[in-house]
């Protein structure tokens, strides 16, 4: 292991168990991934971390701790020490825990190290669907109320947010929601005809679209995306989406609030550099993610804005267990 050359300095670490800040890292860092092995959060974290390890001069041992929409992992990191030796590698879900009644903690109990990238939501239909575009879909729903099957991934997931946006902009749509464990299984079901329409993240659907196994209806962006330049944007379809876009699921790395500044600074620098690696940028582009590489105050602003937009969208759609107001989540500016 070539990147373990810390030399004589950290040899002292054995005697000084307290791990002085300037020696950071003096032992392995645990990286707790909120989602299961093979998922997109897992892939992204396992791709970016080896670069960061080189910069950091330490080892990050990644573990998947799943369950409770990621809340199990978040609570475990929040219950541990704020010493910088446990990283939380997560996605956007925790920002909705409070309003959805899934937990009492969210990213406000953490310091963002890096918000790596953001995904683009896209609405796809099965290749045999009786319509080819967004307007056609709306017309079909109007003519056949309660027949069209939408895939969903439970309250708070990307499909529920996208559907809430559609309902807010176009009015309530009478469709059936068939629940799946994630967008992977749901897109499989879409190809098999078990569901008709699925709001998914672009990266998960792009290969199927290119192969003609599913039809893209609309991307939820302000500008057409590079990977699928011919697919119309939601903004072009209805100017009402302006209020919510850009919006998308994201990946980020966090440490518990109260972690020594020195450790946060070293981690931030390491992941910042890692997220600039061309290989990583290529991977993000191939999977249809927009690279963000935000840290510090920028990252915090991003998180706050995301939480405010989404929590209030869910509140207005009547999907929340408690109002965002109770947790001091500001209403987005009109």
């Amino acid at each position: 292991m070539k990147h373990l050359i810390l030399g004589a300095v950290s040899a002292l670490a054995l005697t000084a168990t307290g791990a002085m800040a300037q020696d950071y890292p003096s032992k392995e860092i645990a990286g707790i991934i909120q989602w299961g092995a093979g998922g997109s959060t897992d892939t992204v974290m396992r791709a970016v971390t080896p670069h960061a390890e080189e910069v950091l001069g330490g080892t990050v041992v990644m573990q998947n701790i799943t369950g409770g929409v990621g809340a199990i992992a978040l609570n475990q990191v929040a219950a541990g020490d704020a010493d910088g030796y446990t990283l939380l590698m997560g996605a956007e879900n925790p920002l909705l825990y409070k309003v959805m009644g899934l937990g009492q903690k969210d990213y406000s109990d953490f310091v963002p190290v890096n918000v790596l990238a953001r995904g683009t939501p896209i609405l796809v239909a099965g290749k045999d669907a009786p319509f080819d575009d967004y307007a056609g879909m709306l017309a079909y729903i109007k003519e056949n109320p309660g027949e069209l099957r939408f895939g969903s991934t439970g309250p708070g997931g990307l499909p529920s947010v996208v559907t809430a946006m559609i309902n807010a902009v176009e009015g309530e749509q009478d469709v059936i929601f068939v629940p799946y464990d994630g967008d992977g299984p749901a897109l499989t079901a879409l190809q098999g005809g078990a569901i008709d329409v699925m709001p998914a993240v672009l990266g998960a659907a792009i290969e199927g679209i290119k192969a003609g196994a599913m039809k893209p209806l609309v991307v939820f962006e302000e500008e057409p995306v590079e990977a699928l330049p011919d697919v119309p944007t939601a903004l072009a379809a209805n100017a009402g989406y302006d209020k919510y876009l850009p919006w998308g699921p994201f990946f980020g790395i966090f440490v518990k609030a109260g972690t020594p500044d020195d450790a946060v600074a070293k981690l931030t620098a390491a992941y910042k550099e890692a997220a600039e690696q061309p290989e990583f940028l290529d991977l993000m582009k191939n999977r249809g993610f927009t690279s963000l590489n935000l840290s510090g105050a920028e990252a915090q602003t991003f998180l706050d804005g995301w939480q405010s937009t989404t929590a209030w969208l869910m509140q207005d759609a009547g999907l929340t267990k408690s109002s965002p107001e109770e947790f001091g989540i500001a209403k987005p500016a009109e």
Binding site: M1, L4, G7, S10, L14, K27, E28
Partner: protein, 189 residues
């Protein structure tokens, strides 16, 4: 053997397989266990009803109710059948179901579970192995400690070093120790 014999024999096998050819006696403690399982099943049925009641066919509580209902019915059947059986002769609860060695091991396991977090993986495991091997094996201390240490080292190397499973470290600074050795190797290379 003629083909017909074949068939009858196969059929016989099948019949004995399918029919209840349960023991005609019950083991010590068995009646109590069946009653306990039935009570637990009834409680679980009530909890299942509590999830969503008879809300909808697709409600989260529908299949749990079906499942626990099956548990109650079969649990009841088993209990009725079991309590009627005569007690098996020559077996006692303390000797054939829960002998002392078993109780001790179970207690040791519970202690292990309780101590793992505060004490850490290495000390707890060493304690567990030493005590249990000493009690079961009845050999000298040197041999017991040697074998325990060897077993622990193997498990540690496989899980902690090769598979990087981070066991609770507790009072023993094993992560720092590991980093120290890694640095020695890394620095030398």
């Amino acid at each position: 053997m003629s083909p017909t014999d074949h068939d009858t024999e196969a059929l016989q096998d099948e019949v004995t397989d399918l029919h209840e050819h349960a023991r005609d006696t019950r083991r010590p403690g068995e009646a109590g266990f069946t009653i306990l399982l039935l009570l637990a099943s009834l409680f679980l049925l009530w909890s299942a009803y509590d999830i969503s009641g008879f809300e909808a066919l697709s409600a989260p509580g529908t299949l749990p109710m079906v499942t626990t209902l099956i548990m109650c019915i079969t649990g009841g059947l088993i209990m009725l059948r079991t309590i009627k059986l005569p007690l098996i002769s020559g077996e006692t609860f303390g000797q054939n179901i829960l002998p002392l060695a078993l109780v001790i091991m179970a207690v040791l396991l519970v202690c292990y579970g309780l101590l793992l977090k505060p004490l850490g993986f290495l000390p707890t495991s060493m304690l567990f192995l030493t005590i249990s091997i000493k009690l079961l094996w009845r050999q000298g201390w040197v041999k017991t400690l040697g074998v325990s240490f060897l077993v622990l080292v193997i498990i540690y190397v496989v899980f902690r070093i090769i598979f990087t499973v981070l066991m609770p470290s507790g009072i023993f600074p094993e992560a720092e120790m590991l980093q120290f050795f890694r640095n020695l190797i890394g620095g030398g290379a």
